[in-house]
Subunit: 464 residues, 2 copies
């Protein structure tokens, strides 16, 4: 193993440019000691416990819904060899947006910017021993080098849900139902979001067979459709006309049609059209009706091959795509193993949190895992308080034992601020009698009870 | 923001040296297409669902125990500016063992090799607004560039448990009790591990006040104590003698003493000695007795200032340190904020998994989150199967719906292999009658039931 990579600095001096040292001046010309910055690295977030409980609430909800569909969790290394991302991901991402570097052994590595190449690698690695179909999910953190802005930061987490090994549209139906159920599980109503669906097969047929454009032009037109919502109608028409000439009107009519049952008759036998029809029928049977056909939904990635979808916020002030996914049938090819079809989606935590906040869907009080706060009247009672705490913890009571040796009022205040439901205080009387004043901190009600009664009351409350 | 860092390769050609391409030859001189490797990056692990369920079992157990003590979860960015690690961590780690590189904006960044500098930064960042004491935990992944070997790989996860803001030994007692309870929660008995405790204050007093050695020699002797177990007695004595001369025997006698109540009388007023005595008394009161005083426990990191401990596997074939921690009172100094004391430990997932495996403490069958497998007799019944699945999922039944359109026997086999407890099949009869043969897959018993009875039976079983 080589250890002499020139890409690594062997020595980093603290004072150099680019290090996060804060020079503190007293304003009189004298320079005080240099202190390290306490800020997190640019474009990333610290998760203090309050932030973490929100994140845990979000991730637990995601896991619960996907596990109800039988999806099982996987994970993978944060670093992959860079070659993995060169094969299928858009060039822009690898060249300008990844965190790529050469390790001390001379390997080109990248901090994963997305999970799909990794999961494809894992499926390919055990192509022969895995029993398909697979229903897999993961909530990895991902890195992209971007100028930080709303919803686009450098480190984010992303739910990845995929089903592998089902060629029929049944898989696409299930994946879209999962996406729908996730937003419903957070309390969103059908009016709060809309699912827009298209098929790459339909678009390929449109360009190659119906409009009969050349391959290189088909690619340009695909990109043009993808950015339709971002440019003016006039601009769109002008760019389309450059390639399509007289066929431009037919092209635009096709894109403006929102009724899957109203396609030109040439599309009747197209697999993409048939799949879309079946998908809309089935989802309507399942009472999922906030779903529309939208032939301008393309998804940026080159690897999609079938149905693609995006979920939009219907909030008029913020009518944007929340997340999306689709079918990719050729993803393991690059590993030289037998084909596996996949359908899946990715949902970022930043966008989701923003959506939940905007729609006021975050719970106000996330429940504390601690049930009881034990105050200690003086240091000499810590031993007995510790013994009691240990007894109760062994019976599934979560306890904070106050070992600060502060005034009781300060101890109680901490318990209240931490949103802990019950408290007791340990002093001479309690130790002698084995009876404790159990205080419900929200109502300040007190009740004299034994330790067994404490267990009964608290576990009884947890079951509610 | 600069985007022109020379540390980044703008283009990476697939065929170059160091990329993970596998050349496949047919043995006749002809070279077949190059395929990407499916192996994870060297020294890292893929977590397939079976591996992940073990990891989740481990992490869930860790979280449950620490949360019973009122510890709350936090997290932080994976990348930190490199300067953070230069300040307190041993030089060796930053210079040779980190994944450090320069980002596209010219910042020197490092993938975190440990969590303590990060948590110190977070505490310092909100030094004024946080209300102490804090009980915090996290289970981050960490990276070190190491030659992969047993228990020392490049990416691992580590439980970090810390209490901040308690100066008294009560915090050390709590932290060691947490460490003890974690191993007990995994099913280890007191005979399966031993907790060895020392105090840096005691060692400092030994070297500076009792043996009266110079500062630079004290440092050398500290390092020597730290490696005592790794060298021969003779070597140890020789190296000690170079510094201590005639005092060597006293030094060695001190280190060989295993009874905290048998220290030389000069140590009576030493805070370290008093803390250790109180700690042993209290832990014994709490019935934690597999704990010993061991003055050779130093812990490598420079930042420890008080009690330090390591937990050892007592297995004679593998009598090694599993994890450890201690008190560090000066960790936020480098940020120029008011002092905060901390006590904590870190526990790596690789060592823990190894320990649980060696001691046969991993559960044989981790319960599936899926309760019911719905087989579909023919594609035309998928609609009704989907509607039924949706109805049951809304009532908290986890369901895999088989959409493979395979033979029923193949569908059942999948359910059995996935360890799912129940199955039903949907066909003409079931749809007409609303009655389903609910099969318990372990015993193959069947019972004809309605969908409401399915819910009752499965939820009843979950409560057991």
């Amino acid at each position: 193993m080589k250890n002499d990579s020139v890409k690594f600095k062997k020595e980093l001096s603290l004072g150099q440019k680019g290090c996060s040292l804060r020079k503190q001046s007293d304003g009189k010309g004298a320079t005080q000691p240099h202190f390290l910055s306490t800020e997190p690295y640019k474009g990333t977030r610290d998760f203090y416990p309050a932030d973490m409980s929100v994140r845990n609430y979000m991730f637990d909800t995601l896991s619960r819904v996907v596990e109800q569909y039988g999806y099982v969790e996987y994970d993978a290394p944060l670093l992959e060899e860079t070659a993995l991302y060169k094969a299928k991901t858009g060039e822009e991402i690898v060249n300008e947006q990844t965190y790529s570097f050469t390790d001390r052994g001379g390997r080109d590595v990248t901090i994963r910017p997305e999970m799909t190449p990794t999961v494809a690698r894992m499926v390919a690695r055990r192509r022969k021993s895995l029993s398909f179909p697979l229903r897999w999910y993961s909530i990895p953190n991902l890195f992209r080098y971007e100028r930080p802005q709303r919803g686009r930061i450098r480190e984010h987490w992303q739910l990845n849900v995929d089903i592998f090994g089902i060629d029929s549209v049944s898989a696409d139906i299930e994946i879209i139902a999962v996406a729908y159920d996730i937003l419903r599980a957070f309390g969103a109503t059908d009016n709060d979001f809309q699912i827009r669906v298209n098929s790459r097969q339909l678009i390929n047929f449109l360009l190659n067979d119906f409009l009969k454009v050349k391959n290189e032009h088909a690619h340009t037109l695909s990109k043009l459709i993808d950015k339709k919502a971002k440019i003016t109608e006039k601009e769109f028409k002008a760019q389309a006309k450059e390639i399509l000439g007289a066929k431009t009107a037919v092209f635009i009519d096709f894109l403006n049609n929102k009724d899957i049952d109203n396609l030109p008759k040439e599309f009747e036998t197209n697999q993409g059209a048939q799949d879309l029809k079946k998908l809309f029928q089935m989802l309507n049977e399942l009472n999922i009706t906030n779903i529309v056909y939208d032939s301008t939904i393309m998804r940026g990635f080159d690897y999609y091959t079938g149905i693609v979808f995006e979920v939009y916020d219907t909030n008029k002030k913020n009518n944007r795509s929340l997340f999306g996914g689709g079918r990719y049938d050729n993803l393991v090819d690059i590993f030289g193993v037998e084909k596996v079809s996949g359908v899946g989606f990715g949902m970022g935590d930043v966008t989701l949190l923003d959506y939940l906040t905007t729609h006021k869907l975050l719970p106000v009080n996330l429940r504390s895992d601690t049930n009881l706060y034990i105050c200690v009247c003086a240091e000499k009672y810590e031993k007995d308080a510790n013994i009691l705490a240990r007894y109760l913890r062994a019976r599934d009571i979560g306890i904070v034992l106050d070992i600060t040796n502060r005034k009781i009022s300060a101890q109680i205040k901490t318990a209240v601020n931490a949103n802990i439901p019950f408290s007791i205080c340990i002093g001479e009387d309690e130790i002698r009698s084995g009876q404790y004043k159990l205080k419900m901190l929200s109502s300040r009600e007190e009740k004299l009870v034994s330790k067994e009664e404490i267990i009964q009351i608290i576990l009884g409350r947890l079951k509610q």
